[in-house]
């Protein structure tokens, strides 16, 4: 049984290869789609013929397209994404330094949205057409209609300006605090590891509003799917049998129904991540969160192409990894896998 699961996981790993090749080809094509002559563009307005030619050779733009692609791939394997024009640093370093901030935000948002959406969907399915079902419907419809940046600003106005409960939207940590010793890169966890509860609390309060903003957006598809899947499963014969056999309500709902209903929910997580990684950029801008999203925005405004490309590539690779992860969880959770074969 575990052998067939392993085989499925291995097969799924192989399936990710074409996606990654596709991503690399697209990001390569995006660079070459720069309007006009990229070399003249990188050389700046004060450049003459000679310096443009020099930069063209330096960028490898005088070679043929397949050759350029080969150079690009070799650089990628080395982890070389070029140099950022705005920061003057290696793009890879910039992104790696800022990635933990984005990951912490996304992770917190995910915990929030699953923590709210799963119980909400389950309750809505258990008591169809009750007030909680209506609440679920309102949340689901409103959730997908809310522009993330609007929700963020709205929450800021209420919790920062009116109530004074939330800290100012100025990044991950108030400047009064020193960032904790980096272990995982996630401030809240690092502060806990260091045993520094003041810093933990400070970074945690900074994290609350952005992650709720991001979480609210992704809550809708999860709650909707949970409700639909639970309704379907609860109508199944095996649930009726379990009930008739006198099993406790808890066992029927959690062990019998939820274990089966969770599968379609896990598959929607793929789409949820696609939304979240995109919405991340907007949330980071609203809360001045120093992640890779705000890095990309700065780079976009400054037409810093290498940085934007690095950002798109990083996000896409992250997305592939997350999807892979979801599929592996799916095979591990699915009670049917390995039984037929």
């Amino acid at each position: 049984m575990s052998g067939s699961r392993l085989a499925i996981v291995g097969h799924r790993l192989l399936q990710a290869v074409p996606s990654i090749i596709g991503i690399i080809v697209v990001t390569f094509l995006l660079t070459r789609a720069l309007p006009g002559d990229p070399a003249a563009y990188f050389a700046g307005p004060a450049a003459n013929e000679e310096s443009i030619a020099q930069i063209r050779a330096q960028l490898g733009l005088d070679k043929s397209l397949p050759e350029q692609f080969w150079v690009y791939v070799v650089d990628l394997v080395d982890g070389d994404l070029g140099t950022s024009l705005t920061t003057g640093q290696e793009v890879t370093d910039d992104i790696l330094r800022r990635l933990p901030a984005s990951l912490e935000l996304t992770l917190a948002a995910l915990i929030f949205s699953i923590g709210v959406a799963l119980p909400l969907g389950i309750m809505a399915a258990l008591r169809e057409n009750s007030w909680i079902d209506h609440l679920c419907r309102v949340v689901v419809t409103a959730g997908v209609s809310l522009p993330t940046f609007f929700t963020g600003l709205f929450l800021l106005y209420i919790f920062y300006y009116l109530l004074g409960l939330a800290p100012a939207p100025l990044g991950r940590l108030n400047i009064l605090y020193l960032s904790p010793e980096p272990v995982t890169g996630l401030y809240t966890i690092d502060a806990l590891i260091a045993g520094d509860f003041d810093t933990f609390w400070a970074s945690f309060t900074q994290l609350i509003l952005p992650s709720i903003t991001l979480g609210l957006f992704s809550l809708a598809p999860v709650a909707r799917m949970t409700r639909a899947a639970m309704l379907q499963v609860l109508g199944g014969e095996f649930v009726r049998t379990a009930r008739a056999a006198g099993l406790s309500r808890r066992t029927v709902v959690i062990t019998y129904a939820l274990r089966n209903a969770i599968l379609p929910v896990i598959t929607t997580l793929g789409m949820v991540f696609s939304f979240m990684l995109g919405a991340n950029v907007l949330v980071e801008k609203v809360f001045a969160w120093p992640g890779i999203g705000s890095y990309a925005i700065e780079a976009l405004i400054a037409s810093d192409y290498a940085a934007v490309q690095g950002f798109v590539l990083t996000m896409a690779i992250l997305f592939v990894i997350l999807n892979l992860f979801i599929d592996i969880i799916y095979t591990l959770v699915d009670p049917r896998v390995g039984i037929d074969s």
Partner: protein, 300 residues
């Protein structure tokens, strides 16, 4: 509704009138049976009217600044207040409707045509067409879509047209998938085989016999997608891509108001944001209503 006329032509000539009648009675049934759908259709009408007549309805010039009257909270003179250079927020929100709708409608129309065409080729011919289109769709879907849109705008240049193209490209997979699935199940249907046997060319069969039947589910996709397209376009202009100030556009207006929210001038960001939300909400509700109309089995 623009969705309706094509459906009339779907069935063979004899049943045309009858099916249109059935469709209308179903529309009335669903609209009256579900007040939410009725509200959605009314809101949609209102948005369209504002988009068309916005500049006429606006009480002030959306671009006229008045420094002595800056940052005024909502009042009888200025329903939504004034912004940091004294422009009337209400007028700007009204006028922006047209631009926002135009961007998203154009984008969705492009993805409808391109995605529908590719999906139809894949579903009708199968084999390597199917693999080619499938690979393309998978490659686009391998990116977080908003991030891909950012990358496209960055590469192609920071203009409004490129916002439209980027939004269109990230929506193509949805239409291609729907069209492929719908065409695929009808490929060997009796009426398609009969049409082929009667000597019709592949293109004619696809255009006149297969496509009209795949249209209703695609129209549902359009409505569900519209809201998302508006959100995407507004998101891109929120981060400073595409539409440039001082043009009135919801995303930009929220971005301009964002700096003032921490000092309490909420009306600059909240009103355009609410307008955006209302538009997206309307399209989502309408999509659900249309889905009920087209596919009664999935009614929620």
């Amino acid at each position: 509704m623009s969705a309706l006329p094509p459906t009339k032509d779907t069935t063979p000539t004899g049943g045309r009138q009858r099916s249109a009648k059935v469709f209308w009675s179903q529309l009335v049934y669903i609209a009256t049976g579900n007040p939410v759908t009725l509200i959605a259709f009314s809101l949609f009408l209102m948005i369209v009217i504002i988009a068309i007549f916005g500049p006429v309805l606006a009480p002030y010039d959306p671009l006229a600044s008045n420094a002595s009257n800056a940052l005024q909270p909502p009042s009888w003179d200025h329903w939504f207040g004034t912004d940091n250079v004294g422009r009337d927020v209400f007028s700007r929100v009204l006028v922006a409707t047209r631009l926002d709708l135009l961007i998203s409608i154009t984008a969705v129309a492009i993805s409808f045509v391109v995605g529908g065409f590719l999906g139809m080729l894949a579903g009708y011919y199968g084999s390597w067409w199917d693999r080619l289109v499938g690979r393309m769709v998978d490659t686009i879907m391998a990116f977080p879509l908003f991030v891909l849109a950012m990358g496209i705008v960055a590469a192609a240049g920071n203009t409004v047209e490129n916002i439209v193209y980027a939004t269109a490209i990230i929506n193509v997979p949805f239409y291609a998938r729907v069209a492929r699935a719908e065409v695929n199940v009808r490929r060997n249907a009796g009426y398609v085989l009969a049409a082929k046997l009667a000597g019709n060319s592949d293109i004619r069969v696809m255009a006149l016999h297969v496509f009209p039947n795949a249209l209703p589910p695609m129209m549902v996709q359009v409505s569900l997608n519209m809201g998302w397209a508006i959100l995407n376009a507004a998101g891109l202009s929120f981060i400073g891509l595409g539409v440039q100030p001082p043009t009135a556009e919801w995303g930009i207006m929220v971005a301009e108001g964002a700096n003032y929210i921490v000092s309490g001038e909420w009306w600059m960001a909240i009103f355009p944001g609410a307008a955006l939300m209302l538009a997206v909400f309307t399209f989502n509700l309408m999509g659900d209503g249309l889905r009920d109309l087209v596919d009664p089995q999935r009614r929620t």
